[in-house]
């Protein structure tokens, strides 16, 4: 009936228009600074009659006599209603749309909230900022862009970044955020690295095609993430996919990019001294000797001496300045996506196909990805709409070994002796066996013969039903799934010297890994929004059910029979392992917002979880949050001026958590594998027998989740015509009941008990600043900067536990120590006397301490990202400067480069006498002997830099990672509409971009300090034989049809 009335009403209006007399109005539309606005829409209010302004902002419109108001609008400007009674000529000024006033934010579970009423900050990164500089892994696009988020890449190939939001929220587990795509969590496993075996994997967010992403919203604090309950502690990254728009014509969007990948930095080498070491010479001198199986370059001065090389060939001694750089090549990246989208009155669609291929600077590292996505939304009736999103991808990669193992191609390559022709030397002997002078794998042999490849087939997506009961109440049901099957295959050729994939002890091996993940998730929400006079109410009630299931099946076969036969059937000894995991969580939640006159709002949230991983008695866990915000410029309009445009303050408090993993509540007997730390191991079945041992980690029937409680205050201020926008937040958060395997004396019979014991306190400041210094007709300059500073301090470990070693070696390692910042670096130091003077032995050399001490803190003081955007006509130039201050790392590469005498500084002072072999004693350590007397013993370069000198203590290679780098830069040009209008294309954009274009590291020579041997884990600060960091340069193109 109502429909009929509307129809009748419409008809009546139509006739009224026809009957009315009309007049003509002309006008000009400009912005605040008088610049004409073309293509603005001018509509007669209440009708569909209207026109658009021309290039000079002028328009002419015939209006009926009874028309009273025009509605003028344009993209990026606030719409304006203009009274026209009695006027025929109008000068209309539009103001830039105040984004902060009207922005609608999708918070948790698809809830839409007016940003103004939010009591917490929710930074969002738009598609264009994610894809202007191409990254195959979307986590890398977050780097430097969001205040409060610290990101760091582990280096190497196609790996993602470690994303740390507002500090550490877990003692020994991951603090990585939860990734949610269109409301449904997606698995982000992987990204870790085994220290001494295997390759680095990509974190699984790599499966998302960045071109399918419309925006990423970062929920940082506990008040923002409380509704995610026991998964919200590390923050949440909400990814919204691109969708078709209603009432839009069918369009095709094609994006394509190509880039090259280069080594970001290569060490500066000396090319004066040959491979070798010191030997006893005449008259008590040490002489430099050319030793052909030495891994060092402490040999004689190179001047064309004749010698017989390792292969029996007569040759002359010479330097090979490029013997390291020649190992690397240029990598390439290609990304193409074609998307079809459109929409009718009721139905929208988007279908896309994306294709990515990337290679790395070390040959045989390659990533391939194919994505197909489908987004469909349809209003079935006025009340019911359904939608679906499906992503299918196939991602495969091949990789070389990483980490501190002899099969890592760069384990030795960085410091290959200066006189060794790595590229030109054979690496097979006549019998086809590996040939290399050292005990490691030859880098080239390793690349060819130690292989790894993996492939994933993954489907994730959701099905969505929305029902609108009334204008103020609707319900939303979403069921999502994330399925994948992952397969990895490793091959180690017979004669391998390092650990490789299978730790085969030289016999060669094959490994097959099958990992299946099936995560199901559904949520149901009821959403109500209503205004009662000055009060507005928005409320949501919901529940969520999560069912995650996975298994991993690994078979490792070692001792191969036939060389080169890459098949499990070639192995003679097999070790199968199988592990599975199943967890379920049920949650109910509520979110309630009350606002007064749209300027004051109060938000309470709560969630209750029941998790299967908790013992039955502790299963129910409650997570509350509250937030208050006030837009003071609206509460007191007198505050508002030309200088101060907008002022909002907020405060919030919340509590979130993280549940324990499965199967930690009971004691188990597990299959045994006696081993020492050096490789020897016994595996079962042993002589057809099985061997079990009681797990060294005892179960705990009293577990509960760990909680992160946080309060935050913040303000948003806009000045001078919104040309200066400041967002500032201060927060304090505290992890309590921190879960970890609390280590205990092994003499108790166990080595750890999983417990709620630790506490971490984080205090942080985050600032966002946007300034538009220049805003002219044809030139616009915008600076947007973000500043992140937080300090996570371990305030409590378990009773009786003073330290937890998280990862690493006897020295150095990464530890949690009560009273210290999270994850400090421990290692041995140089021995010192009571006055802190370095103790030297009679030979003038330093001595290492037997015990380990804190030698570094890997946490930076602050990080900053500054993006400068320049717009000139159709050109836009973005430059992202990434700044990091502080943060130590133990650099094994640096240690190796120096102790082996290959880098420039080791030849700074002449090493040898004129004869080219007698060592000169040009160096001296400053220190004292045990009785406090200065030791003045000159030493030679090898003693100073070599194994007995600086290298004796880990302390000597703790380096600050502070950097300033041009992280991203891109220049793109959008062809003007006047041109594209004449073509079938809607939009043509092309650009050039670069990543890591410039890196300045005042304290860190030779290499890029953005490295971490432990991958994208919490544990930062150790670099061991890291792969090369890269720089990319590329071009991209975007066309719509």
């Amino acid at each position: 009936m109502r429909k009929l009335l509307i129809l009748l009403g419409g008809l009546l209006l139509f006739y009224a228009n026809l009957l009315a007399q009309s007049r003509t109005i002309t006008g000009k539309i400009t912005d605040d600074s008088g610049i004409p606005i073309p293509n603005a829409s001018i509509l007669i209010k209440g009708s569909s009659t209207g026109t658009t302004s021309d290039m000079s902002g002028n328009f002419t419109l015939s209006v009926p006599a009874n028309a009273k108001t025009l509605v003028v609008s344009s993209i990026n400007y606030a719409p304006l209603e203009v009274a026209i009674s009695g006027k025929t000529e109008l000068n209309i000024t539009l103001s830039k749309r105040d984004e902060t006033m009207t922005e609608v934010i999708v918070t948790s579970f698809g809830m839409r909230r007016d940003k103004k009423t939010l009591g917490y900050s929710t930074p969002t990164i738009k598609a264009e900022d994610l894809t202007a500089v191409r990254n195959s892994n979307i986590t890398n696009s977050l780097v430097g862009k969001v205040a409060g988020v610290r990101t760091q890449g582990p280096g190497g190939s196609f790996t993602g970044s470690s994303v740390l939001i507002r500090g550490y929220t877990s003692m020994t587990g991951s603090s990585q955020p939860l990734y949610v795509v269109d409301g449904i969590p997606v698995d982000n496993g992987g990204g870790g690295t085994a220290l001494q075996t295997g390759t680095t994997s990509s974190n699984r967010v790599v499966d998302i095609n960045p071109d399918d992403v419309e925006s990423m919203t970062v929920l940082k604090g506990a008040a923002a993430t409380a509704l995610y309950g026991s998964r919200g502690a590390g923050g949440v990254i909400l990814i919204t996919t691109k969708k078709g728009k209603k009432r839009s014509k069918a369009s095709v969007e094609f994006t394509s990019s190509y880039n090259i990948v280069q080594v970001n930095r290569l060490p500066e080498f000396q090319n004066e001294y040959a491979q070798g070491a010191s030997v006893a010479g005449t008259a008590g001198n040490r002489n430099a000797s050319h030793i052909q199986n030495s891994s060092s370059s402490w040999g004689p001065r190179i001047n064309g001496q004749a010698y017989t090389d390792n292969y029996g060939k007569a040759t002359t001694l010479q330097a090979y300045p490029n013997n390291v750089s020649d190992l690397f090549e240029n990598g390439h990246g290609v990304q193409n996506t074609i998307g079809f989208s459109g929409g009718s009155e009721k139905t929208t669609y988007r279908v896309s196909y994306g294709n990515t291929q990337e290679t790395y600077v070390l040959t045989s590292n390659r990533l391939r990805r194919n994505n197909i996505t489908l987004n469909l939304n349809s209003d079935v009736t006025n009340k019911l709409s359904i939608g679906t999103f499906v992503n299918y991808n196939n991602t495969s990669s091949t990789r070389t070994q990483q980490g501190n193992q002899l099969s890592n191609p760069v384990f030795r390559a960085w410091f290959i002796p200066r006189s060794y022709d790595l590229t030109g030397s054979p690496y097979y002997d006549a019998a086809g066996n590996q040939w290399f002078y050292g005990g490691e794998d030859n880098p080239y042999w390793s690349i060819e013969n130690v292989r790894y490849d993996d492939e994933i087939n993954r489907i994730f997506g959701n099905l969505n039903l929305k029902y609108k009961f009334t204008s103020w109440l609707d319900a939303d049901l979403k069921v999502g799934a994330d399925f994948y099957s992952f397969r990895a295959h490793g091959f180690d050729e017979i004669g391998i010297r390092g650990g490789g994939n299978t730790n085969s002890g030289g016999g060669g091996g094959v490994q097959e890994v099958r990992n299946n993940v099936r995560n199901l998730n559904s949520y149901f929400t009821l959403n109500a929004t209503k205004r009662f006079g000055d009060f507005g109410v928005a409320g949501t009630l919901g529940n969520e059910v999560i069912d995650n299931n996975s298994y991993t099946n690994t078979v490792t076969g070692v001792t191969l029979n036939v060389k080169g036969f890459d098949q499990m059937k070639n192995a003679t000894t097999f070790t199968p392992t199988y592990g599975s995991s199943r967890t379920r969580t049920i949650g109910v939640f509520a979110d309630f917002v009350l606002d007064y006159q749209n300027w004051l709002s109060f938000n309470v949230k709560a969630r209750n979880d029941w998790a299967s991983t908790l013992p039955e008695a502790n299963r129910s866990i409650f997570y509350p949050a509250a937030a208050l915000s006030a837009v003071l410029t609206e509460a007191m309009p007198s505050l508002k001026s030309n200088v101060l445009n907008y002022l909002k303050i907020h405060a919030n408090w919340g509590k979130v958590g993280r549940g324990p993993g499965p199967y930690n509540t009971d004691n188990y007997a597990v299959q045994a594998a006696p081993a020492d730390g050096f490789g020897p191991v016994i595996r079962y079945p042993f002589n057809n027998l099985l061997g079990y041992t009681i797990s060294n980690t005892a179960g705990n029937p009293e577990l509960q989740p760990e909680f992160t409680t946080e309060w935050e205050i913040g303000a948003d201020v806009n000045f001078w015509d919104n040309r200066i926008i400041i967002e500032a937040n201060y927060y304090q958060r505290k992890l309590t009941e921190g879960l970890f395997a609390v280590p205990y004396s092994a003499a108790s019979g166990i080595t750890s008990v999983f417990r709620n014991a630790g506490e971490i306190e984080t205090k942080g400041v985050e600032l966002g600043l946007t300034v538009i210094p220049v805003k002219l007709k044809d030139f616009n300059w915008m600076v947007s900067a973000n500043y992140t500073q937080f300090k996570s301090k371990v305030t409590k470990l378990a009773t009786g536990v003073s330290v937890i070693t998280l990862a690493g070696f006897v020295t150095p390692n990464i530890r949690l120590v009560a009273g210290e910042e999270f994850g400090v670096i421990y290692g041995n130091k140089y021995q010192r006397d009571a006055q802190d003077r370095i103790l030297l032995n009679a030979s003038g050399l330093p001595l290492p301490t037997q015990d380990v001490f804190k030698i570094g803190n890997p946490n930076p003081k602050f990080t900053m990202g500054i993006t400068n955007t320049f717009t000139v006509k159709g050109f836009t130039l973005d430059v992202l400067v990434d700044i990091r201050e502080g943060g130590d790392i133990y650099s094994r590469n640096l240690a190796d480069l120096r102790r082996n005498g290959v880098v420039k500084e080791t030849a700074e002072l002449p090493r040898l006498d004129k004869d080219g072999i007698t060592y000169l004693k040009n160096y001296q350590f400053v220190g004292v002997d045990a009785s406090g007397n200065p030791v003045n013993v000159p030493i030679n370069a090898e003693q100073y830099w070599g194994n007995t000198g600086k290298y004796v203590a880990a302390e000597g290679f703790i380096v600050k990672t502070s950097w300033v780098r041009i992280r991203e830069a891109n220049l793109f040009y959008k062809l003007p509409a006047s041109f594209t209008d004449k073509t079938p294309f809607g939009l043509i954009e092309f650009g050039v971009f670069g990543r890591n274009l410039f890196t300045w590291t005042p304290d860190y020579p030779h290499l890029d300090p953005e490295q971490n041997v432990l991958g994208s884990s919490n544990f930062q600060g150790l670099e061991f034989n890291a792969n090369a960091s890269t720089r990319t340069l590329g071009v991209n193109l975007r066309i719509t049809l």
Binding site: T583, S612, L614, D666, P680, F686, L689, S748
Partner: protein
């Protein structure tokens, strides 16, 4: 509207629905066995295997490097074996061994003892107690004071106190007596059989081996008092011998663990040579000692250097980077599979073309019949029953037979070196030096002999970081960090264990 309210109510109640409990009761790991349900025979298999593994692992390497049976080497940076050899053994270095002994072996032994009592299986308990005694003997000799009375109580006592080494030694004898009695039990619901990887076989036959081992182990324990309280040592051994207790009587009685020619099932000393290439070479001290006597065991102990020359060359601490030395050979690595040619410089690689490859199935010899004879020889020299000369020769003969030496070579060697002569001190030196050679590859005992007797007369290495040769191991760093009831860390590893004072 009524329906909506009803739905909300259901939604809120979902957590307390009865089906919910069942839905969430899935937290039992399907891939492992609950502790209370694991069969004890599976635990014993790993206890015996792990005991054998330990025999060729960390503590073996420390002892063998400290007593100069092996020497560390390198091709690049300093290796851990070089660090140990110059006495740089740090508290964190022993963490792994400490965990393996305590949390794996002893804890599993404790569970076996407890569960076999519940199940009426004294044979399991007997074997477990004998293995427990052996493990504590190794631990006291290495560390001195160790947790015993409060150890292995898991969550009931997470900070066990340390007991005096002397007290633990007393407990070892008690454990052995209990173990022997339980092995002799007439009935047992379960008995170790083929699931024990040491003395594998029907328990009715193999129990004799366990009992012989337990008694011979008592001899070893008593002998360790030689420096602290010689009369006590002589007395105890005399009493034990006169009691008619059965001891090892042939090499077949050796307490050793067989390994197999399959990756990850091989002798751990051999595995170390594969995974840590160029970390260990034969030590000059041992090689020279054997060269001097033209010891026929060299061909089984060491590879030749230069390859094929019939000569043997040992390395020593602080030697310059080189691989031009003899390596360990068939006695520790099993039979030769393929002998590649040596490199041009006469040396062998541990793996690859220019290496000798091995089956890796040599046993780990933890306590041999040969050692038994040397114990008896030393005891007899001090007044215990028997003729030292006979035991001395039998010790050498057993060792040579075990290595594969021909009867003729044994006769020749004994003719030249088989007679004890001179003062008692000279004779002791002869006994311990021969024992030192015979115990090549045996965990800890040569180090213990040197600490007790000062023989063989090894000299502090030239690059030592300590003023003398170490006499114990540091307490594990994990104990210092985690156990408030642990004693303070030793001032240095020159500190002595109780019987060394």
């Amino acid at each position: 509207m009524k329906n909506i309210i009803k739905f909300i109510l259901i939604l809120l109640l979902v957590g307390s629905l009865p089906s919910c409990k069942k839905y969430l009761d899935i937290n039992k790991d399907p891939d492992n066995i609950l502790e209370d349900e694991v069969p004890i025979n599976l635990l014993l298999t790993n206890v015996t295997t792990s005991t054998g593994f330990i025999g060729g692992s960390d503590l073996f390497r420390y002892g063998a490097l400290l007593t100069q049976q092996f020497s560390g080497q390198t091709t690049g940076g300093e290796t851990q074996t070089q660090a140990y050899e110059k006495y740089l053994i740090q508290s964190a270095d022993v963490n792994n061994a400490w965990v393996l002994y305590n949390a794996s072996n002893l804890n599993d032994i404790e569970v076996i003892i407890k569960r076999s009592a519940e199940q009426g299986a004294p044979h399991y308990s007997g074997v477990a107690k004998i293995l427990k005694a052996y493990t504590y003997q190794l631990m006291v000799d290495a560390w001195g004071d160790v947790p015993y009375s409060e150890a292995q109580q898991t969550t009931a006592n997470l900070f066990p106190k340390y007991d005096k080494g002397a007290d633990v030694y007393n407990e070892i004898i008690k454990l052995l007596n209990e173990g022997i009695a339980e092995c002799n039990a007439a009935t047992s619901s379960l008995s170790p059989g083929s699931n024990s990887t040491i003395y594998t076989g029907t328990f009715s036959t193999k129990k004799a081996n366990w009992i012989k081992f337990a008694n011979t182990l008592k001899l070893r324990v008593y002998l360790h008092y030689s420096k602290l309280d010689k009369p006590f040592m002589v007395n105890q051994i005399t009493t034990l011998v006169n009691s008619g207790a059965p001891f090892f009587a042939a090499n077949a009685d050796n307490f050793e663990m067989p390994f197999f020619n399959a990756a990850n099932r091989q002798n751990p000393i051999h595995q170390f040579e594969l995974t840590r290439t160029n970390y260990l070479f034969a030590n000059k001290f041992l090689v020279d000692m054997m060269n001097l006597k033209l010891d026929p065991r060299r061909q089984f102990y060491f590879t030749q250097f230069p390859g094929g020359s019939g000569a043997y060359v040992g390395a020593k601490a602080a030697d310059p980077v080189s691989q031009k030395y003899s390596r360990m050979h068939v006695y520790l690595r099993g039979a030769v599979v393929n002998a590649g040619p040596p490199k041009a410089d006469g040396s062998y690689d541990p793996t690859g073309t220019n290496s000798i490859s091995y089956t890796g199935d040599a046993p780990i010899r933890m306590f041999t019949y040969s050692e038994y004879n040397f114990i008896r020889a030393e005891a007899a020299l001090n007044g215990a029953p028997g003729d030292p000369q006979i035991f001395f020769q039998e010790g050498i003969r057993a060792s040579m037979l075990g290595a594969g030496v021909s009867a003729a070579d044994i006769t020749t060697y004994l003719a030249a070196n088989g007679t004890l002569a001179g003062t008692d001190a000279d004779k002791l030196k002869q006994i311990i030096e021969e024992k030192y050679v015979a115990l090549y590859g045996t965990i800890e005992e040569p180090w213990t002999d040197w600490r007790r007797t000062g023989f063989p007369a090894i000299v502090k290495v030239s690059n030592a970081v300590l003023s003398d040769i170490p006499r114990s191991l540091p307490y594990a760093q994990s104990e210092m960090d985690l156990n408030p009831n642990a004693p303070p860390q030793k001032s240095s590893i020159l500190e002595k264990v109780f019987w060394d004072k």
